[in-house]
Point group: C2
Chain length 173, copies 2
């Protein structure tokens, strides 16, 4: 069972940092792949690939022009995170039980209305305006029930040794 | 017991969206106040105040020039979210038990090293690079144990009625 995150509507100038955060959140909180749509942006692929090389994987990032075809042909359960959707606390248990691949869709400012109709679940992480970064992180945290906090990555070059004060980075490999 | 979020090192041009997200995450996930430091930026206060007016409160946002004095004189427990800190899963229980005010500090790119020393806890939400937005959201979600997802806000003008498909906004007041 693989978890894929699809970031819709990326705009090179306006969304560079938030899309990068979305990619890193997907990786850190246990997803396998992140795909972004909207404007093609090699710098996103490069900076996330650089993180994967240094901090470990496996994790894939790539651009997809045709998000609609991608969603439609995705083999698995499709979830769209939106403030308008059903509360996560009422739906997450059902989603945890699926034994299929999972696609989690997060938008940028405006999500085309057809997205709401071609997914299996529209889910709200609170019914308040906040951030697609927060929605994705809390959704993955709930989906993996906190186990993702201890995820081990492979073939990285550095690792953090947690400290009460200060910083300690360990070089491996 | 009040929860305050302190966002360090705001830069007007580079951080506008992320700092706004931090403020909205603080509000949506149950904090009472957000304070930002770094460059003074009225647009942050205005846009977050506008959200509070439309979606409800109480929630306070304000700028503080002297973050160091603010942290030092804060009456309560001080937590700094940093990838270098101790894992959240090992520390959150102790923090939940405090009966004092809580200050949660999140940085921007570079956090001055003295921050690590003037707080009570340095806590990592994973030991992987991702996003201060995600770290804050997951920390608050863990701190409030999911109860924040149902938080009711007061005196807002609009509210969302969760839907399986589509969008439904209710006008109140």
């Amino acid at each position: 069972m693989k978890v894929t995150v699809l970031r819709l509507g990326h705009r090179i100038f306006r969304d560079k940092r938030l899309t990068t955060h979305i990619c890193l959140i997907a990786r850190a909180f246990g997803a396998d792949t992140v795909i972004f749509s909207g404007e093609e942006d090699k710098s996103i692929v490069e900076s996330v690939s650089d993180i994967v090389e240094r901090w470990g994987g496996p994790f894939e990032v790539r651009y997809e022009k045709n998000w609609k075809a991608f969603i439609k042909k995705f083999d698995g359960v499709k979830v769209h995170l939106t403030v308008y959707g059903k509360p996560i606390q009422d739906t997450i248990e059902k989603i945890r039980e699926i034994k299929q691949n999972l696609l989690i869709i997060v938008g940028s400012q405006k999500v085309p209305s057809e997205v709401y109709n071609i997914v299996d679940y529209n889910i709200g992480v609170t019914q308040q305006p906040h951030s697609e970064a927060a929605a994705l992180a809390v959704f993955l945290h709930e989906f993996f029930q906190g186990k993702e906090l201890k995820k081990q990555f492979e073939n990285g070059k550095i690792e953090i040794a947690p400290q009460e004060k200060g910083k300690k980075v360990i070089k491996i490999n």
